[in-house]
């Protein structure tokens, strides 16, 4: 965008930074509250290939003129190119007048009225066209700002991703005057990337039919057209507008075994003001003749669809992506990976003993190995496959779990319902292999002994929808306990809590059996689970919300610590900084016994360092006679579809401290003007 005295507020780095409304010097918009003013709603594209440089757009509200983009994980640097804000109302009339004049000139140049009298059409240059499109976009931005403030403003950055940046998800936040924003996901991949032109405000209005609010210039709105043919492997970045179907031409060779995997809900798990509460993508593959080959709107239970196609014929195929009910807006951002890359669909077992070597069978497409050995499982917890197997492309939601209990693999005993004897405590790894199958485990118990039986399946990415039934081990015994769904607040991305849990005090000495089934009667080699049977193990997890704060020096920001109590743990939990950096501390950092949450104060000293500082936390409690330390995981409290709240972990916790104002230079003409 040019800076030419026009009323759009346009700032370029490298020029003098315009002070916006500040009474001399750099404005410090620090916040003593957890609630942020600076908020970002989308980043596009939402990722890039490592070792490349790309241009991204971040949309949001209250974006400062000196915004910085901060990425977690290191190795990603960004330079601000421009901040676009809707023109001020007092400048709109001037804009619209200029737009009218330009429109008339364009129409005269295209449709001269006096052509018959030999009058030449009015001149029209590429600069005129650029200016016309600029003005159209600014007018559209003004309309969009009225209707949808979260998408009103945009910041553009040049982003450089180093070669050695870890693959996978990183957080991106904006920071500057106004504090620090919420995080969004930025994904680093190892595949070449193609990015479609972004959805502009004018394009948005065309797609919603709102251009009737425009003047005669609406006929001149440019809609971008994509003509290139994509050769896999590639990641396609797109943004879906209202009613839009993005179509891509893909060159496929005969014999290729292509995986087409969408990342959409993984980028933005929850939308508060939409139903469905995320971008619910549908992909369809058409052949050269336009015949439908395959379509998918989900993968197992996950909204992001995945297709696998073994191409019999070479040709230029069409891949289409849209929302399931043809919605669209700026934050409907997606990435589609297309290629013959190895894609893991399932693993078994779904976990192993912490610290031990575990061999994991892999199933999927284009895999080089049928199994991988993990030389040492991580400490107890749930991890992404990438963290443990260093494997990027896998079924969404697929996780691997480590625990301290003795591990056992289910033995199929050649007939249904025959129990497998187990000794407690134990972690059983099983599969409901066939529809209607029932896995039965028998153990000996003592009167008064309290046991917990818990299934981990959906939380680890298995499609199984478990039920658990406890009964005495005789043919006619009625159930002692039954559970279908058990909610786990720690599983912030799970919307259907399909795993089961029973806690029960055994009434008598003797043998008991646990029946494991799928509530829908489903079964397949993919319906894997882990069944934990043991005495209660009081424990806890902690989530800290929000995951970024920006207090003023000498003040504090409020952070809410949410404690997820397990197996009856009701003690007090203390939060502390881990490897506490200079200048920061916590106060009132405890969640009292029997409470699930408390507000703690994140304090910034007067000499707290400027800019971004990454913070880690620990949570400490006494369980029995032991001091137990757990990581306190940063998270965001996100709303889905107007109704439900989820604690969704982020990659990092960031504190942003205002930078000192630049030294005052001699008076220089500003490179840009405010509207």
């Amino acid at each position: 965008m040019r800076s030419n005295g026009q009323p759009l507020r346009l700032i370029r780095l490298g020029a003098a930074i315009a002070t916006l409304g500040a009474a001399g010097g750099f404005p410090v918009h620090a916040h003593a509250q957890a609630q942020r003013e600076l908020n970002i709603s989308y980043v596009y594209p939402a990722g890039g290939q490592r070792g490349t440089t790309l241009r991204i757009t971040v949309g949001g509200r209250r974006i400062p003129a000196n915004a910085e983009a901060v990425f977690s994980g290191g190795g990603i640097e960004a330079t601000l190119l421009a901040v676009h804000q809707p023109p001020r109302q007092d400048k709109m009339e001037e804009l619209v007048n200029e737009l009218r004049e330009l429109t008339k000139r364009k129409e005269h140049s295209q449709f001269p009225r006096r052509e018959r009298e030999g009058e030449a059409p009015a001149p029209w240059s590429p600069d005129d066209e650029r200016r016309l499109q600029e003005l159209i976009e600014w007018t559209a931005m003004a309309n969009r700002a009225r209707d949808a403030p979260p998408f009103a403003e945009r910041a553009e950055f040049e982003v450089r991703i180093a070669e050695n940046v870890p693959l996978g998800k990183h957080d991106i936040r904006l920071a500057g005057a106004g504090g620090v924003s919420n995080p969004l996901t930025f994904e680093v991949s190892d595949l070449p990337e193609i990015t479609e032109p972004p959805l502009t405000a004018a394009n948005y209005m065309v797609r919603t039919g709102e251009t009737r609010r425009f003047g005669p210039w609406r006929r001149w709105i440019e809609l971008p057209v994509s003509e290139h043919v994509i050769k896999p492997p590639a990641v396609i970045n797109g943004q879906i507008g209202p009613g839009e179907r993005d179509q891509y031409r893909i060159e496929i060779k005969a014999g290729q075994c292509l995986v087409i995997a969408v990342t959409a809900r993984e980028l933005r798990p929850y939308l508060a003001d939409a139903v469905p509460g995320w971008f619910d993508a549908v992909i369809t593959l058409f052949d050269e003749e336009g015949r439908l080959i395959a379509t998918a709107d989900h993968w197992r239970f996950h909204p992001d669809p995945v297709l696998y196609y073994e191409a019999a014929r070479a040709g230029i195929y069409t891949l289409e992506i849209r929302d399931c009910i043809y919605r669209g807006r700026e934050d409907f951002v997606y990435r589609v990976a297309v290629g013959e890359f190895p894609f893991i669909t399932d693993i078994f077992p779904l976990g192993g003993l912490a610290g031990a070597a575990v061999s994991v069978a892999l199933r999927g497409w284009n895999l080089e190995q049928a199994a991988r050995t993990i030389s040492a499982m991580p400490p107890p917890g749930v991890y992404s496959l990438f963290d443990v197997l260093n494997h990027m492309h896998a079924s969404p939601f697929l996780r691997i779990s480590a625990d301290t209990l003795p591990e056992l693999i289910e033995q199929k005993r050649g007939g249904e319902n025959k129990p497998q004897r187990i000794n407690l405590p134990v972690m059983v790894n099983g599969v409901i292999e066939k529809p209607g199958e029932r896995d039965v485990y028998e153990f000996e118990g003592k009167a008064g002994r309290r046991i917990v039986a818990e299934i981990y399946a959906r939380r680890l990415g298995s499609p199984m929808d478990a039920t658990l039934t406890l009964r005495r081990s005789n043919a006619v015994s009625p159930p002692l306990a039954f559970n279908d769904d058990h909610e786990d607040r720690g599983a912030g991305l799970v919307t259907h809590h399909a795993d089961s849990r029973i806690e029960f005090e055994l009434p008598a000495d003797g043998f008991y059996r646990l029946d494991v089934t799928d509530v829908r009667g489903h079964g397949s080699p993919f319906h894997a689970y882990r069944l934990r049977v043991s005495e209660p193990r009081p424990d806890f997890e902690v989530r800290l919300v929000p995951s970024s704060v920006s207090p003023r020096r000498g003040t504090s920001a409020a952070v809410t610590a949410h404690v997820i109590r397990r197996d009856g743990f009701d003690g007090e939990v203390h939060i502390r900084l881990k490897n506490a950096p200079r200048g920061f501390s916590l106060a009132d950092a405890r969640v009292p016994a029997d409470k699930d949450r408390a507000a703690i104060k994140f304090q910034a000293a007067r000499d707290a360092p400027p800019g971004p500082t990454w913070i880690q936390f620990e949570a400490v409690a006494t369980i029995g006679a032991e001091q137990v330390i757990r990581p306190a995981i940063p998270a965001e409290d996100l709303q889905q579809a107007f109704a439900w709240q989820f604690l969704v972990p982020t990659e990092s916790f960031l504190v942003w401290m205002a930078r000192p104002p630049p030294a005052r230079a001699a008076q220089q003409p500003e490179a840009s003007t405010d509207p």
């Binding site: 609630q35 942020r36 908020n39 709603s41 949001g60 509200r61 403030p149 979260p150 508060a272 003001d273 107007f642 109704a643």
Partner: protein, 488 residues
């Protein structure tokens, strides 16, 4: 069912003798001692062609959709012929704030709760009743507080539009075996054609669009669905579906009628056929609605400009005026579906637009009803399906919006013989919880039914012949705080 006059009590033997009027498939289901009143003897043409179907068929514009809506023949196991209810109120105007109005921003202000609750509305105004204050953008209603009563203890705890709208208008929670009819359909049943209503305008009118959130008629069937006028009463003309065709003047409608008559050779050939005679009769009634005095109730140009201005020249204001005209002509139930209250975003901007509009139209309606002597016989109730979150959602994407809130909200009742100037129930200092006198939807509806002379505890006839009551009884375990005896 109970009756206020013993002379109207049913004679159970008589109804059995009238078996000819019972649909053949239902005859076997008639009990020897049915509690239901004598059978309504069908006119011959009603046995297979209910009257309303003739109104609907073959006319300019009313045709297909209306036929579908109205064409269901009687399907009760035991035909229903209620005596005319004796109550103080004869008609109801329901002002339905579609989407859920915030109680804090209307009739239950909480300025002391601070900016996170009150937002910019920090100066509620006193009304002409000591101790009652309402939102500062409702000055006209503030001068009439002695005419209406505010129910601040409304609660049901449901936050979904469809289920909340269902429970507020039927009195029962959704999800049971039966789909209950809403109050409009019940009033249409008890005070409509089955009860001797003779008007050409259907007895249950919606201005102007049906909500679509739930089935108004429920198990009663299509016959008791409302007639939604469509069109816009603020637009000239008010293009009521099937009655007013925009762009076709009255003279042209008359010429069309004459042309149709001249082309209708079948009618000439079957001049003596009773079905044809019945069709003629229905067609004449339909034309009476379109071209005669019947449809003039929708012609707002008959009202002085000063009256139309008083209501406000907008869809809501003119809908209130239309409602007044409808009840004046005897229509038992009118719903004004007043949308735009689902303010998740830009809430206060919307309130600044809608509250003055609502204030003007609603206050004009109350004034006008009083001036015309209709106030005591017309019960007006104002409500939405729920309230809105007392705590404002400042965070994106709401940026100052309010979400759904069924735990506490308010309603307003006026006229129909009810007392005004009262407040029933109370919420806490933030409007988040009902602290005094909870009022559940069945309590509110039961109060309205009783004022109309419909026994809220009496049986509700239904096609399945099930023993259900007009409002829930104890066996249904629906929460109740008791009917609004304070207002009676």
């Amino acid at each position: 069912m109970t009756y206020t006059d013993s002379a109207d009590a049913p004679d159970s033997t008589k109804q059995i003798a009238d078996r000819e009027a019972i649909p053949p498939w239902a005859a076997g289901k008639v009990a020897a001692s049915s509690p239901y009143p004598p059978v309504h003897r069908l006119r011959p043409w009603e046995k297979t062609w209910p009257r309303r179907r003739f109104l609907a068929n073959g006319l300019l514009g009313i045709g297909g959709l209306a036929a579908l809506r109205w064409g269901a023949p009687l399907t009760f196991a035991v035909p229903f012929n209620p005596p005319p209810p004796r109550g103080k109120a004869r008609t109801v105007i329901q002002v339905w704030l579609w989407g859920g109005p915030c109680h804090l921003d209307t009739f239950d202000p909480k300025p002391e709760a601070g900016n996170d609750y009150a937002g910019p509305f920090t100066q509620p105004i006193a009304t002409n009743v000591d101790g009652i204050r309402i939102n500062e953008l409702l000055p006209m209603l503030a001068k009439q507080a002695d005419q209406y009563s505010i129910i601040r203890g409304m609660t049901h705890g449901i936050n979904g539009h469809e289920t909340a709208a269902y429970i507020v208008q039927t009195g029962r929670p959704a999800g049971g075996r039966l789909t209950y009819p809403c109050i409009g359909a019940v009033v249409s049943l008890f005070k409509g054609y089955d009860a001797g209503y003779q008007g050409l305008i259907p007895p249950y009118i919606v201005l102007t669009q049906p909500q679509g959130r739930f089935s108004e008629a429920g198990f009663l069937g299509l016959k008791y669905k409302p007639f939604a006028t469509g069109g816009d009463p603020a637009a000239p003309p008010f293009a009521v579906e099937g009655i007013v065709l925009p762009g076709v003047p009255r003279e042209r409608q008359i010429r069309r009628r004459e042309l149709l008559a001249s082309l209708n050779t079948l009618r000439c050939a079957l001049a003596d056929d009773p079905l044809m005679a019945a069709a003629d009769a229905a067609r004449e009634q339909a034309y009476e609605l379109i071209l005669g005095d019947g449809g003039k109730v929708f012609d707002l140009s008959q009202e002085p400009d000063a009256v139309r201005e008083r209501y406000g020249r907008n869809t809501f204001g003119q809908s209130c005026l239309t409602a007044r005209r409808l009840v004046e002509s005897g229509v038992p139930y009118v719903t004004i579906n007043y949308g735009g209250w689902d303010t998740h975003k830009q809430h206060f901007q919307a309130m600044r637009r809608k509250l003055p509009e609502m204030d003007r139209g609603f206050s004009a309606l109350l004034d006008d009803l009083r001036e015309r002597g209709l106030f005591d016989t017309t019960l007006v109730w104002w409500s939405g399906e729920f309230g809105r979150t007392p705590r404002i959602q400042w965070e994106p994407p709401w940026n100052g919006g309010r979400n759904h809130y069924g735990k506490a909200f308010c309603a307003v009742l006026a006229g129909g013989g009810l007392r005004g100037g009262l407040v029933v129930g109370a919420t806490d200092e933030r409007g988040e919880t009902v602290t005094e006198r909870p009022v559940y939807p069945c309590d509110l509806l039961g109060t309205i039914y009783a004022q109309l002379g419909i026994d809220p505890d009496g049986p509700l006839p239904n096609p399945q012949g099930l023993d259900v009551r007009v409002t829930p009884d104890a066996s249904e375990k629906v929460p109740s705080g008791g009917r609004l005896k304070e207002l009676v």
